[in-house]
């Protein structure tokens, strides 16, 4: 019989909640400051003759130095081994005040600067390469080349892509690249081979995962070793239950699938041409994520904990580097690894080798 004890669900959840009234006080203080600033602006505008400049190529005010980042609304994205980025926010009755949190010292300290786009916009960091970052809102793409000090609306150009270009992100039917330090996006030459695709870190070349056919069928990887001039498409083991795919070197690929009661890890030793199921890991509710690192470690993050494999995905042990449930991973263009969580108490870990993860403030 299924467990329909909703009262028990509520009681168990209530018992594991850890009260943090100081969080309420901190939010209330920030809200009062925000309302104070709003009142001052309204008074100034009522006095007449005040021009208000918004976003778009203007220098932001000096960053608000604070160890508190606010509530993380997105995961940490690594621009390089030093630069980390995250969107955070604090909310009040007038809406949510958004921040673009920047660390230039590998997470030791964070600065809060205004994010691009209109107030109240939903934002996502879709690409980061050194100090060049692309943030998407519902209707626009915004770029910075100085780690968030100034923002401008992204522009696009047609040009031959080279090895200095980094795969930025897949935007609908376009695969876009960015050259670090240059605030222009460029589509790659070859047509996008997959539908509903997203990019993933695959060790140097440009990688994406998506569907070859309409209707969510034909789950495949696509890789380009010539800067997007051509794509090689290869099927993943199956469509149903796909969760994640990762590679550290473009040859050894790992795919994660979720069944009702187990995660299944598939491995490929030939760049995704053939696949073998190498492990099953007991699964509770929730999704999992994989991270292959150049040190040969394969990380598996699940809501029940973070496991690692040192034998190419055949067995997994629990290293206990986090006392939380699942984390999400990101890899910077120069090979740093970041694990992070979202929410009111965001946590971040950084690793240079993919093995030792150090938690940062």
């Amino acid at each position: 019989m299924p467990d329909l004890d909703l009262v028990g669900l509520g009681e168990e959840t209530r018992q594991v909640f850890k009260p943090r009234f100081e969080e309420v006080l901190r939010r209330a203080r920030r809200r009062r400051r925000w309302l104070g600033a709003l009142t001052a602006t309204v008074v100034a505008l009522a006095g007449g003759g005040v021009a208000v400049g918004l976003a778009g190529g203007t220098a932001s005010p000096p960053p608000d130095r604070a160890s508190y980042r606010g509530t993380a609304t997105t995961l940490v994205v690594a621009g390089d081994i030093w630069h980390l980025y995250q969107l955070t926010e604090t909310c009040d009755t007038g809406g949510c005040r958004a921040h673009f949190a920047v660390s230039a010292d590998r997470g030791a300290s964070w600065s809060l600067v205004p994010p691009p786009g209109p107030d109240g916009a939903d934002r996502q960091v879709v690409s980061a390469a050194n100090t060049t970052v692309v943030v998407a809102t519902a209707t626009n793409r915004w770029m910075t080349v100085d780690a968030g000090r100034t923002w401008f609306e992204a522009t696009f150009e047609s040009r031959a892509t080279t090895q200095t270009d980094q795969l930025a992100y897949v935007d609908g039917s376009q695969v876009l690249v960015v050259r670090p330090g240059r605030g222009v996006l460029a589509p790659v030459a070859a047509a996008q081979p997959l539908k509903e695709a997203r990019s993933f870190d695959g060790g140097g070349a440009m990688w994406m995962v998506g569907f070859e056919e309409d209707g969510g069928r034909g789950l495949s990887t696509a890789v380009s070793g010539d800067f997007g001039r051509s794509w090689q498409v290869q099927r993943l083991p199956r469509d149903d239950g796909f969760l994640d795919v990762t590679s550290a070197n473009g040859v050894d690929l790992y795919a994660l699938y979720g069944g009702d009661d187990a995660f299944e890890v598939f491995s490929s030793r030939d760049g995704g041409a053939t696949w073998t199921r190498t492990a099953t890991v007991r699964r509770g509710p929730g999704d999992g994520r994989l991270l292959a690192t150049r040190s040969g470690i394969l990380w598996l993050s699940t809501p029940g904990g973070v496991f690692l494999s040192t034998d190419a995905g055949r067995t997994f042990s629990v290293p206990g580097f986090t006392d939380l449930g699942g984390v999400a991973f990101d890899t910077s263009i120069d090979g740093a690894y970041v694990a992070s969580t979202v929410g009111a108490d965001p946590r971040t870990w950084v690793s240079e080798d993919g093995y030792e993860f150090e938690e940062v403030p």
Binding site: P2, G10, E12, T13, P19, V24, A136, D171, A328, V342
Partner: protein
């Protein structure tokens, strides 16, 4: 009366229950904690408003539910528009039994009005008449939603148990 002291007492008495309600509604424990803290912060900024209401916990629950609905709509909009490997956020589950987590996940598959009726009645412990008042519908409608909701949950969770067997 000191607004902060009052609110601290209300927080101690009701924050856990509110988080449980919001977890039932959102299926995301971090999100539930976040919106509850946000609701309390708003209450602290408007102490007079809180003193006016007959039930501070009910007012806080309504504020938290509204924040959660607004955030859900905003995220849904952006997720439809941008396709990127960096968009997925990890799910946050509390350290409770897997069966209970599965129940919370199954709740998320129900239509919102049905889910809200179940959560308000069974987790927030509201009487059916109170649920009807909160939802702006008749008592009969609440009874119907509760029955449909429990059937749907049983079917969903039963299917999963059968597929495991």
């Amino acid at each position: 009366m000191d607004g902060e002291t009052d609110l601290r007492a209300i927080y101690a008495a009701s924050a856990g229950r509110l988080v449980a309600v919001l977890y039932g509604l959102t299926g995301d424990f971090a999100e539930a904690e976040d919106v509850v803290h946000e609701a309390f912060a708003r209450a602290l900024s408007r102490p007079a408003r809180l003193r006016e209401v007959a039930s501070p916990e009910a007012w806080l629950r309504t504020v938290a539910m509204n924040i959660a609905r607004t955030r859900f709509r905003r995220r849904l909009l952006l997720d439809r528009i941008v396709h990127s490997g960096r968009l997925r956020r990890p799910e946050s589950t509390p350290p409770i039994s897997p069966d209970r987590v599965a129940l919370a996940a199954a709740l998320q598959e129900l239509p919102r009005p049905v889910r809200e009726c179940l959560v308000l009645h069974y987790i927030a412990d509201l009487a059916i008449a109170e649920v009807a008042l909160a939802q702006g519908c008749s008592v009969d409608a609440v009874k119907s939603r509760l029955m449909r909701g429990r059937r749907a949950l049983a079917a969903r969770l039963g299917d999963k148990e059968e597929s495991r067997a």
